[in-house]
Amino acid sequence: MKRIYVNEKWCLGCHLCEYYCAFANSGQQDMIKALKDIQINPRIRIEEQNGISFAVSCRHCEEPLCVKGCITGALTMHEGVIVVDQSKCVGCYTCILSCPYGAIMPAEEGVIQKCELCMENSGSPACVTGCPNQAIIYEEREYV
């Protein structure tokens, strides 16, 4: 299965991935309209310190602790992609307690959100397309 991989050596810390993510998941057509004057709440997040930076988003684990621990059944795995049914989620945050990468975060309205690889958006991750330095890539690899 294709996954997102991050190479921190190439990350510029420009945060563009966060903006592309927020836009892709906004459901809007125009990036300026979608993002102007709002505090974005992207599903990919940059960590940065002392010149090091890298993006963190869902790893789509083969043994997903978030899915197994989900108290409602809102988190499921579909063909390797971990997705959330926000209508079932009650915002207990057991997934936030479980995720070793800290890749699941609160959304608006008391539920959670996570990277779904833009499967419902363009079908290909917007963070990857938008990264100007190929620090985030999307590819099929042998699982190590």
Binding site: R3, I52, I71, K88, V90, I96, G102
Partner: protein
């Protein structure tokens, strides 16, 4: 292989999904004394709160049993396990043969034998969907509710019904609320938050006598109520196993494969003990994620796969009136505490490892802490000062990070 599962909640579903990873076809019969499609038990408070409904409470989709070739028998109770004959006996006399059996019977509410309790006509427990429906039918805007027990069940119940009743009083023998998962300072903070929602607490006290609409406390104080909710604790349903001659301590004793002392009989969920990796002790960890993973592990082994269940530890995540609480591990060791207005963080370390934590209010990325505990990551291998400030992958070595995030090809 013919599988029988007693119970239809989290551990049972985990078991079915475990079995089907190895054996796609062997018939599975699921027996439940309830009348429902599998539903999420912890959601009953959210149901009363109005945040979910019966449809969305379904723990798996409508076609789940069909898709997994399971037969669901609802409204049936298993009376006996006959190990020699490899069959279970139902209350209607029917017998069902098994090759592998899972006991996922859960737990039942404890009703303390207090004088006069029998004379209280409107008393409820809060464990099942039927409990919630029964309670709901009797809620009135002016109801005075007395909740016995300031544990998670009692407090989630309080949250669920607070907007639909007149007044709620919570009584607990313990000196603080959520005594199993919080320390004194954090319990105080959460209690204050709940009091701001109008909930009244009487702690360090218990009811010595009940009358129809009244409870008398140790100190003679009388509380008048219309509705009583008993949430003082639960006891594991272990009778089937002990009657069949299996090992039972407080809960059903299982080995690392989740098998009981009886051959081909497994147990998982709130009725079974598991090994707490933070202490090495065997105990009941009545938590939904634990039930799923124990059930899944049992299922994998029942179907001929191989898996050890060695990941169990106490962990809880919940919210009460918008205040989030996440806790994990155990709290013996050196504490690092940061307290704010409506936030609290306590990290407990011992022997160079993170052993437990309490987070209130600010809970973002808590799983990074959980993982440090679970993986028993030596803290000298990470930047602990950084991660103490907040959970982040920056605190790990570049190498660790490359493993976690994949690194890019070339």
């Amino acid at each position: 292989m013919n599988y029988v599962i007693i119970g239809n909640s989290t551990a049972a579903i985990g078991c079915i999904e475990g079995i089907r990873q190895v054996d796609p076809q062997g018939p599975i019969t699921v027996i439940t004394n309830e009348k429902y499609h599998t539903y999420s038990r912890p959601l009953i408070s959210y149901l009363l709160y109005g945040k979910t409904d019966e449809e969305r409470m379904k723990y798996r989709p409508d076609n789940f049993y069909q898709k997994n070739h399971c037969q669901l028998l609802t409204g049936k109770t298993v009376e006996q396990i006959r190990c020699k004959e490899r069959e279970v006996v139902l209350s209607d006399g029917q017998t069902l043969p098994y090759d592998k059996l899972l006991v996922a019977t859960g737990s039942s509410p404890v009703i303390p034998p207090i004088e006069g309790l029998g004379s209280v006509s409107r008393k409820y427990t809060f464990m099942s969907l039927d409990d919630a429906k029964e309670l709901e039918q009797n809620l009135l805007p002016e109801s005075r509710v007395l909740i016995m027990g300031a544990g998670l069940i009692g407090l989630k119940c309080a949250e669920g019904i607070a907007h639909r009743v007149g007044h709620i009083t919570v009584v607990d023998m313990a000196e603080r609320i959520l005594p199993n998962i919080l320390d004194e300072a954090s319990a105080g903070l959460v209690q204050e938050h709940l009091e701001q929602q109008g909930i009244e607490f009487i702690l360090g006290s218990s009811v010595v006598k009940y009358a129809e609409n009244q409870a008398e406390l140790q100190n003679g104080q009388k509380i008048f109520f219309d509705i009583l909710v008993v949430a003082v604790g639960v006891k594991p349903n272990t009778k089937l196993i002990s009657a069949a001659g299996g090992n039972v301590r407080r809960g059903i004793v299982t080995d690392m494969s989740c098998e009981t002392s009886l051959t081909d009989i497994y147990a998982a969920g709130d009725c079974a003990e598991s090994m707490d990796i933070t202490t090495g002790e065997h105990r009941i960890l009545a938590l939904l994620p634990n039930a799923y993973m124990q059930g899944e592990c049992a299922g994998l082994n029942m179907a001929g796969g191989y898996k050890n269940y060695n990941q169990a530890m106490p962990m809880n995540s919940t919210g009460l009136f918008g205040l989030h609480i996440i806790t994990a591990g155990n709290y013996e060791g050196q504490a690092y505490v940061v307290q704010g207005d409506k936030t609290y963080k306590k990290l407990i370390t011992k022997d160079g490892l993170l052993k437990g934590y309490i987070l209130i209010g600010e809970v973002a990325r808590a799983g990074i802490y959980t993982s440090l505990i679970k993986e028993q990551k030596p803290l000298e291998k990470i930047d602990f000062n950084l991660i103490k400030d907040k959970p982040q992958l920056m605190a790990f070595s570049k190498r660790d990070r490359q493993k976690m995030l994949g690194g890019a090809a070339g």
